[in-house]
């Protein structure tokens, strides 16, 4: 099963249409899509508008590959569960989100080899062909890096109170 997800905040009909066209052309009937508040009626996708976190995680676990907007929660969950993921960033000037931060995310994570990224429909179809060839297996653990955890723990739980907001007021 291929799991498609666009998050709960806004629909992302451009991506859903691309996936539906691809699934129709490929005669795939094993694509499940979480579409959000969308008005589309896809031909070839099983649609679930919204999912709670356990259901989201279950769909992700059952999937052989994930197609998604470049949302960080989705990317981190797919990498942790070891699912190959193709991301399409939402664009600010199409009002798919408030700015182009997803483009930066897609470029950076693709450059690090953690995700596939596509920016137009032709690239999307080509990436779909690659996606299912990618090896599965966890790319990241389930917690923050040891360095970050140690810094947080040391700072939050250290007995000596950290420096005050402005130095020299500790009288």
């Amino acid at each position: 099963m291929i799991f498609v997800t666009v998050g709960a905040q806004m629909p992302f009909d451009r991506l859903i249409t691309w996936v539906d066209d691809w699934a129709t052309a490929q005669q795939r009937d094993d694509v499940t899509a979480q579409t959000g508040d969308s008005t589309l009626t896809p031909r070839s996708l099983s649609v679930v508008p919204f999912m709670d976190p356990p259901s989201f995680r279950r769909h992700m676990q059952e999937a052989t590959a994930v197609v998604a907007h470049a949302g960080m929660g989705t990317i981190l969950t797919a990498l942790e569960l070891g699912k190959p993921i193709l991301v399409v960033p939402r664009l600010g000037d199409r009002n798919e989100t408030r700015n182009d931060h997803q483009v930066a995310t897609a470029r950076r994570f693709a450059a690090d080899g953690l995700v596939l990224a596509a920016y137009d429909e032709a690239e999307f179809a080509a990436s779909m062909a690659q996606l299912e060839q990618r090896p599965s297996g966890s790319r990241i653990g389930s917690r923050a890096s040891d360095g970050l955890l140690a810094r947080l723990r040391g700072f939050a739980l250290d007995e000596g109170w950290p420096p005050p907001l402005s130095a020299g007021t500790d009288s």
């Binding site: 709670d52 960080m72 917690r143 923050a144 007995e159």
Partner: protein
């Protein structure tokens, strides 16, 4: 001035502290979860925006607040009052947030309550710190980015990523 004794703290027995962990939904919440092992042995109370997330932390107390944008004055006021109420009730020693609006208010008000405050900017903010991150800068005693290229001596600190 008190001497800084960070090196000894790991060996010293510490009393249990209360950590208020605050995040809105989606990626902010997922990233917050990844920080919680840092506070093992201490009490973590959560604040988030949707009761569906309670299922991710079934053993913990979770407060649900509204989310708000900067342009939503009524929503922002309501959110600030709810955060204030939670701080009065819980009196956390530590406030940690990955964003966005609820964390912003929790850091600012938490600091005024004397809590230690930690802001970890979302890993999605690759090119610059988030707007909420910039807003809480003065109130965050630990102000962290997840990208080394954004770290600066007079700017955010880099100590690692959420993975």
């Amino acid at each position: 001035m008190r001497p800084v004794s960070a090196e000894n703290s790991a060996a010293a027995p510490h009393k249990q502290r209360k950590v208020l962990a605050v995040a809105s939904g989606g990626g902010h919440w997922v990233q917050l979860q990844r920080l919680i092992p840092a506070f093992e042995g201490h009490r973590v109370v959560y604040v988030t925006i949707n009761p569906v997330y309670e299922r991710d932390v079934p053993e913990s107390k979770v407060y649900i607040v509204n989310d708000a944008t900067r342009w939503d004055r009524v929503g922002s006021l309501l959110l600030a009052l709810r955060i204030l109420w939670i701080l009065v009730r819980e009196r956390p020693q530590v406030v940690v947030s990955t964003g966005a609006a609820p964390g912003c208010f929790a850091i600012i008000l938490g600091r005024l309550f004397g809590a230690r405050t930690i802001w970890l900017d979302s890993i999605a903010n690759i090119e610059q710190m988030s707007m909420s991150g910039v807003m809480v800068r003065r109130y965050s005693q630990l102000w962290l980015t997840q990208w080394p290229h954004l770290a600066a001596p007079d700017g955010p600190e880099f100590a690692g990523k959420v993975f």
